[in-house]
Point group: C2
């Protein structure tokens, strides 16, 4: 399984091969099909691993982040980009793999994905001086989409074509602009 993750990180989604992954793990393709139930499930498992690493990366970056609210959001977005850049192939594979609705996703795999949004939920709720309620979570999904868009176009090369050289900076600017529309005054300490 870790061989599969390594292979996709090395070659990218398009040139990934289940046969080759099995070969490297001293197995046969058939084993992958029997153990995981199919190629899609195998890829889902590989991508879950990437999600876990990504979450860890974000948490690690937040430890050394500034304590002011804007600084913390900036650190979060930069870490988001940092992971994507450092693990380009693995990161892109998450979105390259299109799963059709017929395939059921294991609870375990769903949890790996929720971990990531959970981190953002927490940080944004904090930046807005709000609790982690439904309205915040909806906004968070939208902010994630905003950052995702910048990151995806950047790594796919569409942005190089468009001569933007600091996509992360642009994403941060947009996120902060958006947040000012939703910000609430920090509650004062009771006196």
């Amino acid at each position: 399984m870790s061989c599969g993750h390594d292979l996709i990180a090395e070659r990218g989604f398009a040139k990934f091969s289940a046969r080759e992954a099995a070969r490297r793990a001293d197995y046969t393709v058939g084993t992958i099909y029997n153990v995981f139930g199919g190629l899609d499930q195998y890829l889902i498992a590989i991508n879950s691993r990437t999600f876990e690493r990504w979450s860890d990366w974000l948490e690690a970056a937040l430890v050394n982040a500034p304590t002011d609210q804007a600084g913390r959001i900036e650190a979060l977005v930069r870490a988001y980009f940092g992971f994507a850049q450092t693990h380009q192939n693995a990161w892109m594979a998450i979105y390259d793999h299109r799963i059709d609705r017929s395939i059921a996703i294991d609870r375990e795999d769903e949890k790996a994905r929720e971990l990531l949004t959970g981190i953002v939920d927490r940080e944004v709720a904090n930046a807005l001086n709000l609790g982690d309620d439904e309205a915040v979570r909806r906004l968070v999904r939208s902010l994630i989409a905003t950052v995702h868009g910048h990151c995806a176009l950047w790594l796919s090369g569409s942005f190089a074509l468009l001569q933007e050289d600091d996509p992360a900076g642009q994403a941060i600017d947009r996120v902060l602009e958006i947040l000012t529309h939703h910000i609430t005054l920090a509650p004062q300490a009771a006196d």
Copy 2:
């Protein structure tokens, strides 16, 4: 060539096959390689066609758009989403096809891509009561990334998972929030 476009629209990028596309056009795979120079160039040509259709779609939608600035931006974003939804496979193929830097992109293909950003440049400059200068174009790329992110996560199903049912609406809200930070007062008619 139009067979290739039809095939990718029908099957999606992952299940697209150059051989099958050739077959449908009563040709042989070899012909594609000789005419286009390789599979990548063929896919670029197919995607250029999608870009052209997309631009046409946006222009068509703008004809019937409201005349107020926010309404026009909203119409633009909705049309963006509308095209992507109506031509899911073709639209996603644009981003599924990763071109490595070694492959040169024809001027003609570049122009098809610039047409689209050109439309957005124009509309945003208009919404901001500004000319179409470099600063606006930089913001526009960022806005496109913002909308792209919402649209991509939506169609890839990541958003369904996150239970958002109006991603276009969310994208519009974000874009308008961002624009208020960059807006300039409309120049008054000389009196």
